[in-house]
Amino acid sequence: MFNIDQGMPDPDKLYDVIILGGGPTALGSAIYAARFAMDLLVIGKTYGGLIASTHVVENYPGITSVSGTELMEMFRDHINSLNIPYITDKINSIEKEEDHFLLKSVFMSFKARSVIFATGSERKKLNIPGEDDYAGKGVSYCATCDGPFFNDKVLAVIGGSDSAAKEALFLAQHAKKVYIIYRGEEIRAEPINKKRVDNNEKIEIINNTNITEIKGEESVKAVIFENGHKFILDGVFIEIGSIPNSEVAKKIGVQVNEKNEIIINRKSETNIPGIYAAGDVADAPFKQAITGVAEGVIASYSAFDYIKSKK
């Protein structure tokens, strides 16, 4: 849980490292930065990150099964035990000054010798008519947040990833029926979750199908398939992947790949000395909480080494 003692950040202080992000990658990185006795500040929009909305996490070593919310609280306990300062804000720009970086948000400016991007990713949108109109009114990107509103309703999960399968499994606890609507041939869930989906009588998979519109009145009432068929339902949960939050990094010249993921090496270094990246925002092919934490920890170590070399 939280700790009221974290106090206010100091705009005049030169931090050793500022970690951007609030998910496992950022928090894992912060724990190591604190252990390296670095002056640090964590600035994030979402405490716990995307994993906070995960129904159940079963692949974090040492923890057999835990909800994303509980895992987030465990991270928070650990962060607070080290008195690591965390603020809710979004950095809009970073400038290189003589021996440090200047980070600006709408609310404050900060100075840091090094910066770690652990900014994760945003849920990708379908960008179809009706999606924005019915956001919060039957269109959702978070089953854990909104699933309980749909008791005994008919729902669709759009997407074919492991996350989509997990969302469907969670929603099936509340809903009368859950359809996984996937544009491909076969959903790409981990075998353990695919088996659970197959064994769940409430879940049905509709393959090779795109939706082109979400229709409703006060709330969602139907989706329209590519072939024009109108499919009646009460809610749409969109789980079609994510977009890395690398815009601010790009503005200062950090190199990204074609997916806008920050290119890092095995030390979590970017092309700019003093700037590191880790987790979902970086270019690893397989993104998990555990791999993000590992990259974040390496980023802290590299930042520590970098600062030591400058002092």
């Binding site: 849980m1 939280f2 700790n3 009221i4 003692d5 106090g7 206010m8 950040p9 929009k45 979402t46 405490y47 716990g48 906070a52 909305s53 994303g68 919310t69 987030m72 609280e73 603020i87 809710t88 804000d89 979004k90 809009n92 948000s105 709408v106 609310f107 404050m108 956001a135 919060g136 009114k137 039957g138 269109v139 959702s140 990107y141 978070c142 854990t144 947040c145 909104d146 309980p148 509103f149 749909f150 006060e218 709330s219 809610g235």
Partner: protein, 227 residues
């Protein structure tokens, strides 16, 4: 330790650090038993007050929660437009309502509630300087945040809304509504997702957004924020 016990421990651990007094008003509905004892007559009021007393009892006497029965206090009830119980109000020294809770500050919602209590008592507020610098461009405003107690991202929206309100010198009010306990309010706003934030009953913001988005909604449009 059960999660309830864990949360109680957190309230105890954090509230004891409060060093300045805070007075809150809790509106309930009370009846009188045959033996003269007062009892809460609304379904959730007893449990709600028990929870609030945990905050009060562990604050070294710094928090005072005044329980007001709407039946016995028609003037207050009318003045603050209390339409349902239980309701908790943070009222400033000028009698202006700053924060209204139509939600029990339990579970993950403990954090933003304690943060609000501390900021209301004068603890540093990260957003204060920017809000004050932009007050000239903010009309009297209400930020309503629809939440549920199981939503992982709601506490952050609640925290921002409350801290904005506390910095707003009476110009900004936050209203925190648990729509699983106040279904009619959720239905009124067609909210089937949380957090769901409504600024001045006009601009609806679905999901978790950064504090700068709420600030821009308060100022109106994409005006450059002064900081």
């Amino acid at each position: 330790m059960s999660s309830d016990d864990k949360y109680k421990e957190v309230i105890k651990r954090e509230m004891v650090k409060l060093t300045k007094p805070v007075k809150l008003k809790a509106f309930t509905s009370q009846g009188v038993e045959a033996d003269g004892r007062k009892i809460q007559t609304c379904m959730d009021c007893g449990q709600f007050m028990t929870l609030l007393r945990i905050y009060e009892e562990n604050s070294n006497g710094m928090v005072t929660i005044e329980e007001l029965s709407i039946d016995d206090n028609p003037e207050f009830t009318k003045r603050y437009d209390i339409q349902r119980v239980p309701t908790v109000l943070f009222i400033d020294d000028n009698g202006r309502e700053i924060i209204r809770y139509l939600a029990a500050p339990q579970g993950q919602e403990i954090q933003p509630f304690i943060q609000a209590v501390f900021a209301f008592a004068g603890a540093p507020n990260y957003y204060e300087a920017t809000i004050k610098n932009n007050l000239g461009r903010i009309e009297p405003s209400t930020i309503k945040v629809m939440i549920t107690n199981t939503c992982p991202y709601c506490p952050q929206m609640v925290s921002v809304a409350n801290l904005f309100a506390i910095a707003g010198e009476g110009k900004i009010r936050s209203v925190i509504v648990d729509i699983s306990a106040n279904l009619d309010i959720g239905q009124y706003y067609d909210a089937a997702g949380v957090p769901y934030t409504i600024v001045n009953d006009q601009k609806a913001i679905s999901g978790l957004v950064g504090p700068e988005v709420i600030l821009r909604a308060l100022i109106g449009g994409n005006i450059r924020v002064q900081y």
